[in-house]
Each structure stands twice: as C-alpha cells, then as structure tokens.
Amino acid sequence: MPSQNIQEDILKELEIDKLPPEKQEEILTAMTELILKRITLRVLQNFSEKQKEEFDQICSGGDQEKINQFLLVNVPDYERVIQEEIGQFKNEIKETVDALLA
C-alpha cells in the first residue's frame, strides 16, 4: 500500500522544490513522462490481439470519450490501476533516491 506521505508532494519529498524553477520543471516533466509510460504499459500490457486492434481503431477516430469507455470496460479497475501505478512509482523513486544518496 503506498505510503500516505508519498501521496503528498513528491517534489517536497525529494527536495526538488529547493532547486531553481527551471530545474524543477525539468525534473517534473521527466518524471511525468515516465509515469505516463508506466501507466500506459500497465493499462495495455494484457490486451489480446483483438483488443489491440479494436483499441487502435478507436484511437484513430480521436474520440476521447470512446477511448475512455473502452479502457474502462477492458481494463479491470482501470482508474484504481492508474492510481496504484502512480503511487508505486512515487514510492520506488523515493526509495531509489534515498539509496543513491546513502
């Protein structure tokens, strides 16, 4: 279960808020990009071939509502999964940073 503390400001936890604003932004965007990749992987990794084809088709239509509906239906506990992945990431990154600083 992700630590509640980490649900708080991860930037503060990692002391990134002490960096100059442009560095903060750099790190924040790097982190966000990584999280987006992780949650994408987590959400899509178990799709069957048929689901993948259907998903590609819906994506090409560009209808966000349809995409969201498809994911809600085809990914069990879709939103919780995302939440979990984000929380896990925050914990892992904090642990890794602490380990690298130790």
């Binding site: 649900q7 708080e8 400001d9 991860i10 930037l11 990692l14 002391e15 990134i16 002490k18 960096l19 100059p20 560095k23 932004e25 750099e26 790190i27 924040l28 965007t29 790097a30 982190m31 966000t32 990009e33 990584l34 999280i35 987006l36 990749k37 992780r38 949650i39 994408t40 992987l41 959400v43 899509l44 990794q45 993948k52 994506c59 560009g62 209808d63 966000q64 509502e65 995409i67 969201n68 509906q69 994911l71 809600l72 506990d77 879709y78 939103e79 919780r80 995302i82 939440q83 984000i86 929380g87 990431f89 925050k90 892992e92 990154i93 890794t96 940073v97 380990a99 690298l100 600083l101």
Partner: protein
C-alpha cells in the same frame, strides 16, 4: 649503400657543426647551451640507446648528433645530403617534440570499406573524448547494468511471490524445489543488484565531483579576476553542490526507471512492438504540449504538488484517454488545467507570506469553499470530510485545486471560483487574479472576470469520488466553463482579408493557445489551421455570404459560424496541425517565390497630372479610392488584395493580383510621360552628388566622405517617401528589407506582424510595387528582378520631381 667508417662519421660531425653554426648566424640566434638537466637526460637516453630528445627552444631543428667517439670523414663529400642519405647516416629520425603528425592510414592508401571507416572514426572519437564524456559513458553503463539487475530482481521477486503464501501448503515436492530454486535465484539477483547499485552510486559520485571541480574552477577564476569575493564564491559552491546532489540523483533515478521500463517492454514478446509504439506515442504527446499543460498534467497525476489528495486516479484516466486521442491542451484537460493554474497561484500567494496577501487568500478561499459547498448539495460529503482533515489553508488549497471528476466535469469549481471572486472587493480581487495569472484566462476567457457562468452539467449529477468499489463514471463535460461567446459573423474592415479574419477568429477562440512545440512548429501549425479553414471558404463561398473570397469589401458581412460550429472538424484540423512532420513544417514556413500575374484588363493609361507640391493626406486618398472603386464597373476592382493560400501542400501557388483604376492616385506619371522635372531616385542621387561636387565628397584621405554620402542618400529617401506618401521614419524602416523577402511576406502578412511592422508601414510599399507593375504592364517577375532591397528597387522605379 655501404656503412660509413668511423673516420667518415667524424668528418660528418665536423660538417654538421659547421652547418649548425652557419644556420644560427643566419637566424641571429646563439646556440643554447645544454643545461645540466638536459645533459643528464641526454646521457640517460644515450644509455638507453635512444637519441636524446631535448627541447631547445631557440636552436634550429637539426638531426640529432650521433654519439660517436671518433670523428669520421663525410662519406659523400661536402655537400647537402638528401633525406635518404641523412637517414642512412644518422639512422631513422627520432621523435622530436614538434607538432604531432597525423596518424598513418591504418589500412594503407586505398578506399575504405564502410566497416573500416567506422572503425577509424570510432577510434578517433575515442581519443577525442573529454573526461566528462568518459564519465558520462561510465555512468550510462553503470545505470544500464543497475537497471538490468533491478528488472531481473523484481521479476524473480514476483516469481517467488507467486510460489509463496497459501499455495506452498498445496505444493508437490517438485514444486517446492522449484520455489526454493526461485528463492535462491532471487537472492543472487538481489546481490547482483546491490553490487551494481553500489557501482552506479560510485560512478554518480565521481560525476558529481567532476561537476563540482568544474564549478570550483569557474568560481576561483572569478575570484582571481576580483569579480567575486571568496566568501561569496564559497557560498555559491556550497549551494551548487547541494543542488547538484538533488538534481543528479533524481534525474539518474528517473533514467534508471526508464531503462527498466524499456527492458520490461522488450520482454513482452510479440506485444513489445505495439506496446513500445504506444508508450513512446504517449511520451511524444506529452513532450509536444505547451509548458503550462505539462505542468497541469503533472499536477493532475498527483506529481507536481498537492492534487486534491486523489493521487491521479480519475484525472490520470482522463489524461491517458485524451493522450491516446491525440488531443491537447485545454480541450483535453479543461478543468485540470484550471485547477492546476489556480493551485499554483494559490501556492504562490501562500508562500509569499505577506500578511495582507494571506488575508486576501483566506478570504477568497473561505468564500470559495462556501460557494462550492453551497452550490453542490449532492457533492460527496466524503470529499469534505477528507479535506477537512487536512485543516486550515491546506484544506482550502485542496478545494481550490480539487482535481475531482465531479468538480471539474460539472464546472462547479470554476463556478465557485467566480462566485467567490465576486464577493471579494475589487481592490483585492485584481491582485489575486494577477497572481494566478493565466488561470484567470482559462477560467474566464480573455474578456476578464465575467458574471458567474452556469455549470454545463447540473451539480447533482457529479460523479462519486473514487472509492475503489467500482469504475467511476467519467465527467460528462470535461471542458472549462463557457467563455464569452465569440461571434462567427464579422464585418470586414479596411485592410482585412479572409485569411486575416480567420486568423482573428481562431485567436479569439483560444485555438492557438493550445498549440505546442517549438516556435517554428507553432507558426507552421497556425498557418496550417488558417489555410485549412480558408480552403473551406474557397470551396463554397456562398455558404459564408461571399461571391468571391478573394474580393471582400469594407462593410461586408461574412458568417464563419459554420466553420466553428463543427467541433469535430475543428478538432481534426487542430490535431493535424499539431502533428505536422518536420518536412511539412519546413515547407509551410519556406517563403515562396512569387509569380505575379495579371488577371484583369490592363489598367488604362494614367491621365497626365501635374505634380502636386503638397500631397493629399492619406485618409482623403483612401476615401477617393473607395469612391472611385465603388463607381467602377469592373467586378475585379480590388478592395483588399487576396491573402494567398500558404502551402499546407507542397505545390507552390501562383499569386494573382487584380488591378483596378485609381489604386494609388499620387504616384508620379509613367516614364514615357516624364517631364524634365522627373527623375528616378538613382538619377536624383547622381544629380545631388554632382551638385555637391564629387571632389567635395572626397575627404583628405582620398576616400568618399561617408557623412556627405549618407546625407545625399537620406535626401533621396526622403523624396521617395514623400512621393509615395509615407512618413520618412516608416520608409526608412522598410527600405532595408530584402525585396524578394518583402514580396514573399505579402503572401503571408503575419510575417510582417511578427517582425514588428504594422500595416501602415508595409502596405504603402506593397501598393506602390503593385501600381508600378501594373503601370509597366509587368506580368511576371523573375527571381533576378528581385535582387537587392526595397530601397534599391524604389530608387529605380520612383520618379522624383527635382524642380527646375
């Protein structure tokens, strides 16, 4: 060739000495005596069998002396030796401390194969690497190894877990053995990971030390130059060290996880290509967003700052689906961006700590939460209970920043924000809005603070907060509350064109705000969008109240509503604009060479008019033109020139310019009608120089007097400016522009705007050029005609009344 005898060698030494002395005399140098140290070195080298290599900074380069004891006669007589003879006598030349010779070709003088070339360049590149390059390489390797071990460890851990727990009670002996083996494998993997982590840490530390030394050297340099005090340098170094520790560690941790994710994808088997595409697609989508959207996504995912305590579940799903749809910016995030902006703004206010600001913020926040709760009877009490635990200011920040589906989707948040703002006195409202900055625009549109807007979806339908019990319905309407309506019906003003009007429409509707990418990509995307919409107008002008989209008149009404009512089409155009390829961007931005053709009957010869000493003021001329054109029977009389289509497609378009009567009434007569009083700018310049006397323009050094020449040139420019009824300062601004670029920019007037030129500055130039082309019956301009600047061209074409 036979080996020289001892006598011969002694003779050679004598000859050599004599030659050395002669060379030194010529060079005016005296022989540098060997120092004791050099002598010792020479002795040691001689003992090793090598020729002594001694630096003699002033002695000329000579072959080294042969360490012989007896002098030998010169084997070839007293003459200059060839290089081969010298080598024969003295042996192969030893390495001297001169410039490093180029390395010999490793494969001989012949064409290389591709592999050989790669090897040569690889070796060369290796040698040219700096210490920093090597450290970074080492860091990359250490990180990759660590990521690999981490991945393996995690994978084995999962395997062990699958074989653990209650299952072990039902395992066969074989399975138990498998489990034991798995546990052992996991322990080994854990050890490997720890080792690689230590190595990674060590390398990272070395890199940080390097950075610190670099910074220290930089600061010491400043101290040495007395540009910085020592104590300030020490403080800066300490601060730098702290920042670098945080920065490098966090960045490396992120890269480590990124590498691990890539390994994970690689091991997905047949699915890996598809998954790799999807994940990199998401990353690409994110990278293209404007900065404010990136920050909003970060906050929405619960990374950058407090985000309603919901850590990204609902908003994360929302962001992900939007990313897959390729949608960007505000249209995706809607309230997310709003709350992010507001939250940041609030944070800034809070962190400032000024008492009166806290007071303002508190008042605002209190009103805000009051308005929010009051308006949302059916809002989940759980939210407020949860938020209530946070206490005080933080609670209000949670509310203000509440990235909760219901709040966002229903628009209740923005509604409450506006409500709260209206309860705050004007005197403190503005500072709050200023601090929140762009969030204000997102909430209220560019018109500023408006009356409260009703939420799009009744608040009672706000979805429940995620409780983990089931899927949470997506907000029905994720967009920000309606901004003030922008009318699609426009009235044409002087100087307008369909292009410009569409540009204004897109701008007013905030369509350009959401474009991401670098400056060139944004520019190209804007051009693409305007062009795409203009295409629709051209295809069916009647639908917009037009007969000819290239000919619009001041006062005319055009209805663009149907373009902006079709949100789906608009989204498609937007998405396409946002995803232009590099070559498409370049193609769109490349100025097109202009081929100007006539599409109307030639203008009738201008009637002879006596040159007027005083020019008519511009507004009167414009009125004259308008009257003249309203009376003209020619349907092709232009009010405003066409804004040609900028290529979103590769083929360049031919620009056509219609001609009419009386377009510019004050241009002096055609060349054939020139009286002796009229001369071209070039001729005028020549006349002035003659008048001043060429001699007078020469200064003492025999060169032309620059000031005098500039004064003459200025006089000519002033005369040209007056002739075409332009202010001299405006003309001076425009005259230096490259002619070809100017004409290309007339196809894309936004370029003028970007360069800071207003219409009053460039339009007279354009009109003059058009008139000249019409008068001269020039149907085609070749690229060679476009050399030089606008000023150079005008000196040729404009006729100036020089008086009698």
């Amino acid at each position: 060739m036979k080996k020289p005898t001892l006598e011969e060698i002694a003779a050679m030494r004598e000859a050599l000495k004599a030659r050395q002395t002669k060379e030194q005399e010529v060079a005016g140098q005296t022989e540098v005596e060997q120092t004791a140290e050099e002598a010792e070195l020479a002795r040691r080298d001689a003992a090793k069998g090598a020729e002594p290599v001694v630096e003699r900074p002033t002695a000329p380069e000579t072959p080294p002396a042969i360490p012989v004891t007896e002098e030998e006669p010169h084997p070839y007589g007293e003459r200059v030796y060839s290089p081969e003879e010298e080598e024969e006598i003295y042996g192969p030349k030893k390495e001297q401390k001169i410039e490093v010779p180029e390395e010999p070709h490793p494969y001989g003088e012949r064409p290389y194969t591709k592999e050989e070339e790669e090897e040569i360049y690889r070796v060369k590149a290796e040698k040219e690497k700096t210490e920093k390059d090597l450290l970074l390489e080492k860091l990359d390797s250490a990180r990759e190894a660590c990521a690999d071990n981490l991945y393996q460890k995690d994978k084995l851990a999962r395997g062990v877990e699958r074989l653990s727990g209650w299952r072990r009670f039902f395992m066969s002996a074989e399975k138990r053995a498998t489990r034991t083996a798995a546990e052992e494998d996991f322990k080994k993997a854990e050890e490997s990971y720890k080792k690689s982590q230590e190595s990674f840490k060590g390398t990272l530390k070395d890199y940080r030390v390097y950075l610190l030394k670099e910074k220290e050297a930089e600061l010491n340099n400043l101290v040495a130059k007395r540009e910085l005090k020592k104590e300030d340098a020490d403080k800066q170094l300490e601060q730098y060290a702290k920042e670098k520790v945080i920065e490098t560690t966090t960045k490396e941790a992120i890269k480590l996880f990124d590498a691990k994710e890539n390994l994970r994808i690689q091991e997905m088997g047949v699915a890996r290509k598809w998954l790799a595409e999807k994940t990199s697609g998401i990353a690409e989508w994110y990278r293209k967003q404007p900065t404010k959207v990136k920050i909003a996504v970060s906050i929405g995912l619960g990374i950058g700052g407090v985000a309603g305590g919901l850590a990204g579940g609902v908003p994360g799903a929302f962001i992900l689906s939007a990313a897959f749809a390729g949608r960007t910016g505000m249209r995706v995030l809607g309230g997310m961006a709003t709350t992010a902006g507001v939250e940041r703004g609030m944070k800034i206010i809070q962190e400032r700590g000024a008492e009166k600001e806290i007071g303002k913020e508190k008042e605002f926040a209190d009103k805000f939460s009051e308005a929010l709760k009051g308006k949302n009877d059916k809002l989940d009490d759980k939210l407020f209970e949860m938020l209530g635990r946070k206490g005080g200011q933080k609670r209000n920040r949670y509310i203000v920043a509440g990235v909760a589906g219901g709040l966002v989707g229903s628009g209740a948040l923005a509604y409450a924000f506006q409500e709260a703002m209206h309860h705050i006195p004007e005197s403190i409202r503005e500072p709050i809005l200023q601090k929140i900055g762009s969030a204000k625009e997102w909430l209220f549109g560019k018109a500023g603070v408006e009356a409260p807007v009703k939420p799009k979806v009744p608040l009672g339908q706000a979805p429940e907060m995620p409780s983990g019990k089931g899927a949470v319905p997506v907000p029905e309407s994720p967009l920000a509350p309606e901004a003030p309506e922008i009318s699609g019906v426009v009235t044409v003003q002087k100087g307008d064109s369909v292009w410009k009007l569409l540009e204004k429409q897109l701008e007013s509707r905030g369509q350009f705000d959401e474009l991401g990418g670098n400056a060139e990509e944004i520019k190209a995307a804007k051009t693409y969008m305007i062009d795409a919409l203009k295409d629709k107008v051209v295809v069916d002008p009647k639908a917009f109240g037009l007969t000819n989209p290239d000919l619009i008149k001041p006062g005319q009404k055009i209805d663009f509503s149907r373009l902006f009512d079709d949100q789906q089409k608009l989204d498609e155009i937007f998405n396409r604009a946002q995803n232009l390829s590099e070559s498409e961007v370049k193609n769109i931005l490349r100025p097109k060479p202009v081929e100007i053709k006539m599409n109307a009957p030639m203008a009738e010869p201008r009637p002879e008019v006596a040159p007027e000493p005083e020019r008519v003021a511009k507004p009167e001329i414009e009125a004259e033109i308008q009257v003249a054109q309203s009376l003209t029977e020619s349907p092709e009389a232009p009010e405003v020139p066409e804004e040609p289509r900028t290529a979103a497609i590769p083929e360049p378009e031919v620009r056509t310019v219609a001609r009419g009567k009386g377009y510019v009434v004050n241009l002096p007569p055609a060349p054939e009608e020139v009286s002796k009083h009229f001369v071209s700018g070039e001729e005028y310049e020549h006349l002035l120089r003659e008048k001043e006397g060429i001699d007078k323009l020469l200064d003492e050094s025999g060169l032309f007097n620059k000031d005098a020449l500039e004064a003459i040139s200025g006089q000519v420019d002033a005369a040209i400016a007056q002739t075409i009824n332009m202010g001299i300062s405006d003309y001076n601004l425009m005259k230096g522009i490259n002619l070809e670029n100017f004409i290309a920019a007339t196809n894309q007037p936004t370029l003028f705007v970007e360069q800071g030129f207003n219409q009053a500055q460039w339009e007279p130039i354009k009109r003059t050029i058009d008139e000249y082309l019409g008068r001269e019956k020039i149907t085609e301009i070749k690229p060679d005609d476009l050399k030089g600047t606008v000023g150079d061209f005008f000196k040729k074409i404009i006729k100036i009344d020089v008086g009698k």
